[in-house]
Structures are given as C-alpha cells and as structure tokens.
C-alpha cells in the first residue's frame, strides 16, 4: 500500500523553485499515467487500512443516530432542552455549523476552478464529498426541529387540497429552496467530475459485478474528444453556477436570523459574516479529514505540503474576515447607543452567564488563524490538524452563543430564561458525526477520493512545462 517517502527525493523544477518556501510543488509524483491510475484506484479493490473495523463502528453509530432521531420524533421536542424563549437552541446551532462546513467543499471545487488554482485538482473530490455529507447532516436538524417531521414537505409549493401555499415572504421557504438547490447542484457537480474516474474504475474492475456497477455509473464514458469538450464546458458552467451558491446559501441561512427583530440577530452584516465563517470552518474541516487520510493512504506526493500551506493561508484570510465582523458588531452595538443592543453585546455576551462560550470563541478564533502567519504551523501536519479541530470547536461555540444569547434575554426581562441542553441534544449531535463518518468511509471505499483524470492532467501540464524549461 505504502509508497516510499518522496519528501526529499523530488526534484524542484525551475518553474516552481521560486516558491519553494511555500512547500513542495502541487504534485511530486512523476509516476506514469498507468501507475498513477492503478495506485489511485487501489483502495476501491482492496479497501483502506482498518476499513472493516471503522465500518462496524460508524455503521452502528449511524444506527444510533437514527434511533435518537426516532426517539425525538416519537416522544416530541420536549426531550430536548429547548424552551420558550430559547426555541432554536442546539438544533439550529448544529444546522448552521454543518451547513457552514459544506461551503469549503464548493469553494475548493468551484471557485478555485474558476480562478485556475491547479492545486485544487487533488483535493476537490474529497472536499465535495464532505460538502454533500455535511448538507445531509445539516438538513436533518430543521426537519426534526419541526416536531412533526412528516409534514416537512409543506415548505414546498405543491397544489394541496387545503388550497394554501407557502408564504414566500418569510425566510423559511427561502431556506428550503436554498438548501435543496445547494445539495442538488453539489451532487451534479460532483457526479460530472466523477464520470471519467468511474470509467477508469470500470476498465480496471477485477470482477464482472464491479465492472457492470461502475460501467453503469460511468454511463459509457469513452473519453472521446467531443465528450471531453462538452465535459469541460459543462464542468466550468456548473462551477460558475456553484460559485454564487457558496455566497448565497449561508446568506439565506443568515437571513433566518437577520429578518427577525431580536438584538444580536437583526443586522445587515449577517450575510457576509456567515459566509466568511462558513468557508473558514469548512476549510478547517477539510484539513481535519485530509491530514489523516494523506498519511493513512500514503499520498503525500499527491496532496503535498503546498496544499496544506495554501489551505492554511485561506484559513488565515477567512478567519481574519470573521474576526473583523466580531469587532464591527461590538463597535456598532456601542456606537448606536441602543439600550437593547448594548445590553446584549456588551453585557450579556461579554460578562453574562454564557460569557465563557463567547470568550472561548473570541480567543480561539483570534489565536488559531493568526498562527498561520508562521510556516512552521502551515506545513506541519500534526500542528495544522490540531489547529483545524480548534477552529471548528470555536465555530461551533460561535453559533451557540449567537443563537442562545439573543433568545435567552430579549426586550422583556419577564420572559428571560436560561437554556441547558439535555442528553438527547448531545446524543443527536454526536450521532451526526457518526453518520458523517459512515458516509465518508463509504465514499473512501467505493469511489476514488483523489480525482484520477484531473491528477493526470495536472501531471501532463507539469511535465510539459518542465521539459520546455529544460530545453531552454
């Protein structure tokens, strides 16, 4: 399974030597196309390390998740810690957190494609799979939060016998439209990218059953010039369509909050604030998943330190944008002189009963991204992994205090209440990780997690560039 470590043995081509301090080139391996194809397809036929054990654990974990959902649906929302006024609590915190994580996958696969960042080629498949599974987890929460999830389809406009239609002037139908579109378009984009690799899996399949299975999924892809030409155009168009989705989905989610009148929520800064936070936490989650995979599957020559470096820099950029909004929010709360805003931002958040969550977020989200100024943090997988986990912890607590504090103390002191989650809340949140792990393992086991044709295309471009420079 493992290839010999290539960290020291690769040669720097003159084309890339200018940026040696940014880490290795985007692709170190110069193995032949056939070797590369066979190597990247190997996990499909043999499985990765410990896959049976991990399947067992996460498979039962997914069952555990479904049983917590079933318990909630059968018993009712009373099993949670929600109360009035804190009606949104854990479920919406988890929803916002998971849907935010998805954004980095789309950002990597779509925005970086349009910007011709070729380092995205080796990690986009993985990041997009993460997006899809994160959206699935996110979508569970508004569903069960309804209390009667079997009526969830009421959010969609269909000619019902009750002769009523959804009220499109509210944010919830927008949310339904945004999330279902986001999932569908992400799935289409992911699938279009997968077609050439599914064909490679078909042509290398060891058994007739697998050959048929991948053959049907590949739709009979033969890599013809005509097909590649249309594929490239369709892939670019889908990237162009997914790009505004990166900005719009979390904006719509933030409108769920911004459209209300509550202090701390009723703010025009919310859409950009949410989008920056979403991409920030998503990049952290990509790193959390990618770093162990890279070591386990021994693909350090395909996902190189250059990738880690670039991802870390994006964490720094988006993290700084998030921090800027924290400062602006506090400044505006003070500057407006509005008593409710000041009460919420300056008293309740900074020194109230939830101040620990607020300060945890403020400290972690300041310290962790700013460590990325240093190459030692950007290029050391272990340190970067710890940083990425801390970012997501901080981002979860950010959504937690954002949602809880505004509801728990609004305009009328007589309706103030504290919020405390129950064990069911915790079990459902834990369950989302297990379901996510299960889906992600299925993906690793049955689909090539590094795009094969795109890696070969990248290799071809690099080899051409190198030979041109050597000839000069």
């Amino acid at each position: 399974m493992r290839e010999p470590p290539l960290q020291e043995s690769y040669r720097f081509s003159p084309a890339y030597s200018k940026s040696v301090e940014d880490g290795a080139p985007v692709l170190i391996s110069r193995a032949s196309d056939a070797h590369l194809t066979e190597r990247l397809l190997r996990p499909l036929w043999r499985g990765g390390p410990f896959w049976k054990l991990s399947f067992l654990v996460t498979g039962f974990g997914a069952l555990f998740f479904f049983s917590t959902l079933l318990y909630t649906a059968l018993t009712g929302i009373g099993t949670w810690g929600n109360n009035i006024p804190v009606a949104w609590a854990f479920a919406i915190t988890n929803f916002v957190w998971w849907i935010g994580i998805g954004h980095a996958g789309t950002f990597i696969s779509a925005v970086l494609l349009l910007l011709e960042q070729n380092w995205r080629n080796s990690i986009n498949r993985l990041a997009e799979a993460m997006t899809l599974f994160a959206i699935i987890n996110a979508a569970v929460f508004p569903l069960i939060h309804l209390g009667r999830p079997w009526f969830a389809y009421w959010i969609f406009p269909y000619p019902s016998t009750m002769n009523v239609w959804p009220n499109f002037k509210g944010a919830l139908p927008w949310d339904g439209a945004a999330i279902s579109t986001y999932f569908t378009v992400s799935l289409l984009f992911w699938y279009v990218g997968l077609i050439p690799d599914l064909a490679a899996a078909r042509d290398h399949a060891p058994t007739l059953f697998k050959r048929r299975l991948y053959g049907i999924l590949a739709l009979g892809w033969r890599g013809s010039g005509r097909a590649w030409k249309n594929w490239q155009v369709a892939y670019l168009l889908l990237a162009g369509l997914a790009t505004p989705l990166v900005l719009s989905v979390h904006s719509v989610v933030s409108l769920d909050f911004a459209i209300t009148q509550l202090p701390g929520w009723h703010s025009t800064i919310f859409p950009p604030y949410f989008v920056a936070g979403a991409i920030y936490s998503g990049f952290a989650m990509v790193l959390t998943l990618m770093l162990p995979l890279r070591a386990l599957y021994g693909v350090e020559d395909i996902i190189t330190t250059r990738h880690l470096d670039a991802m870390a820099k994006l964490i720094l950029v988006t993290g700084t944008a998030v921090y800027y909004t924290y400062v602006v929010e506090l400044f505006i709360a003070w500057y407006t002189g509005n008593i409710f805003e000041s009460q919420l931002f300056l008293w309740l958040r900074l020194s109230g009963p939830y101040a620990w969550a607020v300060w945890l977020t403020f400290v972690l989200n300041f310290v962790v991204p700013n460590l990325m100024w240093f190459r030692a943090f950007r290029q050391r997988p272990v340190l970067l992994w710890i940083a990425s986990v801390l970012v997501n912890v901080a981002m979860w607590f950010e959504r937690f205090f954002l949602i809880i504090t505004s509801q728990s103390q609004d305009f009328l002191p007589s309706s103030w209440a504290m919020y405390r989650p129950t064990y069911v809340d915790g079990a459902i949140f834990l369950g989302t990780f297990l379901l996510f792990g299960f889906l992600f393992l299925l993906f690793l086991r049955f689909l090539p997690f590094i795009p094969i044709s795109e890696t070969k295309e990248l290799r071809h471009a690099l080899v051409e560039e190198e030979s041109r420079l050597e000839a000069r």
Partner: protein
C-alpha cells in the same frame, strides 16, 4: 461511430500529428479518445463550439421565470396573504427563491445537454470490441476514424495511421461492404 479504424498512441503529440495527416488527405470524420483532455488534441480535431452553454442559459431562464411566477401567482393571487400591509407581489422577497430556481434548472440544463451532446449514456459502442481500448481511461490515446467518411479508404487510412507512429491499428464494427470485398 458505427465502424472504422482505431489507432492506439502513447503520446498525445503523436496523436495530434496523425490527426493533421488524416486531415491533409481530406478525412475529417474522426474522434480522439483520451484519458484526460489535452488542449492540442481538442484544437486539432476542430470540433464545433459546444452548445452546452445555450441549454444552460435556457435552463436558467426557465428556472427564473418558473420560480418568480410561481411565487407571484401563489402569494399575490391564488392565496393572497396580507403580511403587515406589504405589497402582495413583494418582488424583493421573491428574489432568493428565484435565484435558487435559476441555478437549479441551469445546472440541469448543463448536465442534460452535456450528456446529450456527448451521446451518453451509451453503455456499449463498437470501439469497445477492440481489446486495447480498455486502456483509454488509463494511459493510452486513441484515434477513431469513421468509415462513413466519403474519403475513407481502409488501406490508405491504415497506412497513414501506421506511418504517424501508432502502436496498433485495429478495425472495429462492420466495415462497409465494398471495403470488405477488397
């Protein structure tokens, strides 16, 4: 492509030369098969511009009008709901679902037209009968010359392909009768 000749190449640059050699002889009905898109090959094939963007745009247009008109009719007329005295056809509030509808149908337009123009799904094609062809997704480049081309002559085309540096040249599908008689 029902029938013709399939030449195998190791290097896309040699494939480009073969395409040019065939075109010089007036043979234009051909297609390359590649493990990854190579710009030079796509240019040498002189394919017509892709029509996928047109269908993507039409999809987007359909999605935008469907989403907007649905909201306008349901909230403004069929179930007119007065929310705080705001206009029934509140255009700004209808923008987010209109945008989502645009993106959704544009994406389907791009996907379906890509599949249609690439003639997919097509689980079997005559070229699949050539044993070497299974390496098309791994590391080999192929050039398929269509036997229906008016200038197609089996012997001549085979010679051009072999002279261009093909590793192998195989016939696929049922070649036209006049070719088989020779």
């Amino acid at each position: 492509m029902r029938s013709g000749l399939l030449a195998e190449y190791e290097d896309p640059e040699i494939l480009v030369r073969a395409i040019r050699a065939l075109r010089r002889e007036g043979i234009v009905a051909m297609d390359a098969h590649m493990p990854y898109p190579v710009r030079e090959v796509l240019e040498a094939l002189e394919l017509p511009p892709s029509r996928v963007p047109i269908y993507c745009f039409l999809g987007g247009l359909a999605g935008a009008s469907y989403a907007y008109l649905l909201q306008w009719w349901t909230n403004g007329f069929d179930y007119a709901l007065n929310v705080g005295g705001r206009p029934l056809g509140a255009a700004p509030a209808f923008i987010p679902p209109t945008f989502e509808g645009t993106v959704l149908l544009a994406a389907f337009g791009a996907l379906l037209s890509f599949l249609g123009f690439s003639r997919l799904p097509r689980l079997w094609a005559p070229v699949d009968e050539v044993p070497q062809f299974s390496r098309v997704t791994s590391d080999r480049f192929f050039l398929a010359v269509d036997a229906t081309d008016p200038r197609f002559d089996r012997i001549e085309a085979e010679n051009i392909l072999l002279a261009s540096g093909a590793l192998s040249v195989s016939a696929f599908g049922l070649l036209p009768r006049k070719e088989a008689e020779r």
